[in-house]
Amino acid sequence: MSSRADDASPGVAGLGAAAPAAGDLGTPAAPVPGVSGVPTFAATGLDLPAPDVLAPDALASDVRTPDALAPDAPAPDGHGPDGDRPDAGTPDAHTSASAPSIDHPAAPDALGTFGASVHDEFAHEWAKIVEGASYVPLPADEMRDYLRELTYRLSDSLDADPFRPHEARDVGEALVAAHFTGTGTLERTFGLIGEWWPRLRAHAFSQQRDPDDYLLRVIQIQGALAAGYAEALRTRTLAEQQAIHAAVLDARALTEQALHTSEARFRAVFEQSGLGIAIGDLDGVILDVNPALAQMFGVHQTELPGRRVREFMLADDPGHVWEWYEELARGEREHFSAEKRYVRADGEPLWTHLTVSLVRDSAGGPRYQVAMIEDVTDRHRLYTRLRHQAQHDPLTGLPNRALFFERLEAVFERAAGSVGRPSGADRVGLCYLDLDGFKVVNDSLGHDVGDQLLIAVARRLDAYVSRAGHLIARMGGDEFVVLVENSAGTGQVVALAEGILGALREPFRIRGHDLTVSASIGIVERPVAGTGPADTMRAADITLYWAKSEGRGRWTVFDTERNDREVARYTLSAEMPAALHHGEFDVDYQPLVSLADGSVLGVEALVRWRHPRQGLIGPDRFIGLAEETGLIVPLGMYVLERACREAQRWSGSAEALGAPAAAPFISVNLAERQCHEPGLVRQVERVLAETGLEPERLQFELTESQIMATDGGPLERLRELAAMGVRIAIDDFGTGYSNLAYLRRLPVCELKIAGSFVEGLRKPGDADPVDARIVASLVELAHALGLTVTAEGIETAAQAERLRAIGCDAGQGWYFSRPGPPDRIATLLDGVPRAG
């Protein structure tokens, strides 16, 4: 703004050229001549309170702060260059950041010449030049309206009589209030007024005003506007500066407080925590510990810093703990937790739950390790106690079956897990022990004495067995078991069992009673490989049973073969019912031949088992089992039915041949169990009725011992059968004890002499004279009782001849015919000449 009043065309040229280019801003302007009292645009900002407060050096040309324009502005208070302090020049209270509302005086057109359109035009141009210098929070049209109002006020004050230049101050303030705060706002405004001077001049003429006088008015108005603007801006700037400084202080205070609070909070947590906390560096040196930790270890808080974490390593630490620790120290692991034992200063164990974490700095590098230690000693003790309770017998205090099985299983697991060892090197032994007759003690002397006895026995066993380094457990009741790990062989375990029996031999004195107890012991001793704990335990159990059934106060060693036999027997008897159902039983027939004429007198039915896997099984292997299980009853009936049906066929064909009397009888074995069946007679009647066989053609064979033991019901049944006409024979006669007198009372009609007597008569020439004489007496005796005699087991012609000579009636054996299918008998009957 360098126009001069005495320019050739002072108005237009002067003000018109006055619009400063941005680049001119730094140039000090000459004073506006002829306008005394109006300050020049010093506009350098050099005299501002402080660069930081108002304008930075780099922006020294910022004309937002033209203090010099405001004659009544407070003098710069000379703050230092770092004037951060917000107390620089308290601004006037009326400065407001909020958008002002302008009460526009009505009817500016009263002035006549300046129509509304002129004001509009000025406002429009004004908006264009000030826009962009700062952000004005108004939509474009509202901004224009706002400036139009200000235009009216300017023109009002310009034309007012008397002249009221100071009203233009308010317009300056209003510009700032609307945030027209941008650099150059004022210069651009004055530049615009300069451009408008010719029109203003014309207006002056039209108003009959002196143009020079009017120019003076314009200049004074500009001065007032500048002063109002500058002061408002300065006030606003100071207020904002103060606000931002205050904000910095607040923010700093807040940050410090936050830091302080977090530090204090940490300290409080560290000092008062019940959890032990230790901080260490990455080399494993303890830097600080809290009181809780010191107390846990039973040391003073100052004793731990400086010591190394590794000093606390113990042999029973879980292996991975120290691996993890190393990883953490290397920054490869953020944290880990573990159960770990420490040793307190007084030597007591300190069980802890430990969590170690890595603390990193803000750049992410590892800095510290922090250990949080929880004292779980009480919990650990409780756990140990509960575990002990769960694994021990409350009466005797010995380990219980749970612990025993755990240890036994561990033996097998260890063996399974060990590699590179020759298999079979690991052996294990068990002594399964049971007191003999303990129940009697309990029943006769009471449970209390029984319990006391058990306690005393347990104590003695424990003293003996534990000394040898073995585990003894109470399995329940009066059963105990000893586990011999790494057994040296059966001998060692047998010796141990004998030692145990010896230890029990001394009587126990309980409540005034001298009690003698004995025990039975089942011993299993075997390689670990190839078996399991359950199998071994079962073997011990079976062996104990053997020992008990063999008599008391003894030990028995597990015998695999015996076991296998028993298992096989058991298996067979278990399979039998299904086998009967599936028709696996078959009947073979063997003739009983007349020694006098070679005719077939009778046929014995012999049962066989065609076992699907074991092949043909003879009756000697399964009849006993069938008797035990009772299956003999249905099996016997099955055989009876089949045999009777065959026999009836033979009778039929004999009849057809015209010699019905020549048909042989059928001889069927009758087991003891069958004799005890109350329905036996009725069933036999039914079979005979169904098959049509005459009772005289049926013979039952009973063993000698069976007949002798027969009494009561069974005897009655035999009598009934005999009364029906059924033949009764004594099988295997001569092998047992026979009360001959008793024999008379029985409805027997035949004796079968056991093959063992016949054996002695086998060789031609030198027959055993004793056997021959026995057989002769037997035959004689039988005949005296009116019985016929059949010799079993005849294998040679010589035997047959001798027996015939002795007077034996009939023979049976391979010499005549092996047992075979029913058709063989039929052929035999056709080919062999009949008697009579």
Binding site: P51, D52, L54, A55, P56, D57, A58, L59, D84, A97, S98, A99, G132, A133, S134, Y135, P137, P139, A140, D141, R144, H179, T181, G182, R236, T237, E240, Q241, A243, I244, A246, A247, V248, L249, D250, A251, R252, L254, T255, A258
Partner: protein
């Protein structure tokens, strides 16, 4: 994603602050010599910067007005800066709305300033927070009582996301916000872009990087992707002055000069 709750960082007045430099561009004096020096350098490189910033602020104004008119009653202005001239709550109140306004910024000075001047408006608060911790922001906003998560909210991320690098996954942050704000909520985004002036933009980014507030200009497609799950309101994603210009505004000859995109979307 483990992140500590927002804690004010050290206040270092030897470094310019994004919030205060921005205030300077708007013509404010909430700034210090370092801020103005920084701005001067930037302007030396790119004289239109103040105009661009003002255009951004004007977009904020138009967007907020529009949202008030479409019935939004709560505003969450993240990266609000110093609540200086033309700030969200002023626009809201000027529009005659009692809507709750929650300002969030990670500049502690901006926060302290906001607290000081907002004292007498019970429906506006200023919180310290970081947009990278959206959960923390939503929780503390809800705790003020001015934000009800059950109702639609306008989330303002105006001139903010270009301070969040791709590594911080801004899309994921927005997805998180999307998930937790009520349907019908709005997302307001403006974002610096190099699409208009690639070379100068690169220089400018560089300047911010040196001040350790790196700027990340993004292309139109990249910015559009932030509106995933939002339905863009008319006129879509456009240059700053093109977003619903007010009647009477001079049509911008070359909108590309305003190298920033702006858009408002509705959460579907």
């Amino acid at each position: 994603m483990e992140r500590p709750a927002w804690a004010p960082e050290e206040i270092d007045l030897t470094k310019p602050s994004v919030a205060r430099v921005y205030d300077y561009y708007l013509g404010g004096s909430h700034n210090f010599a370092v801020d103005r020096e920084f701005a001067a350098k930037a302007i030396g490189m790119w004289p239109e910067l103040p105009v661009i910033m003002q255009a951004n602020r004007a977009f904020l104004r138009r967007a907020v007005r529009h949202l008030v008119e479409s019935g939004i009653t709560q505003f969450l202005d993240i990266g609000s800066g110093i609540p200086t001239v033309g700030s969200t709550h002023e626009v809201v109140r000027a529009a005659g709305s009692e809507a709750g306004v929650v300002y969030v910024d990670n500049d502690p000075v901006a926060v302290a300033h906001g607290r000081a001047i907002l004292g007498d408006d019970p429906r506006t608060v200023m919180l310290g927070g970081d947009v990278r911790d959206p959960l923390g922001i939503l929780e503390s906003a809800a705790a003020t009582g001015l934000y009800d998560p059950a109702r639609p909210v306008a989330v303002l991320l105006v001139a903010l996301l270009h301070f969040v690098p791709d590594e911080e996954n801004p899309a994921e942050l927005i997805a998180f916000l999307h998930k937790h704000i009520a349907p019908g909520s709005r997302l307001v985004v403006s974002h610096a872009s190099a699409d208009g002036e690639p070379e100068r933009a690169a220089e400018h980014q560089d300047l911010y990087r040196r001040r350790d507030a790196p700027m990340h200009m993004r292309s139109r497609d990249e910015v559009a992707a932030f509106f995933d799950g939002f339905e863009l309101a008319e006129p879509g994603l456009v240059f700053l002055p093109e977003w619903r210009p007010e009647a009477g505004a001079a049509p911008e000859a070359k909108p590309g000069r305003f190298t920033g995109y702006a858009g408002v979307g509705t959460r579907t």
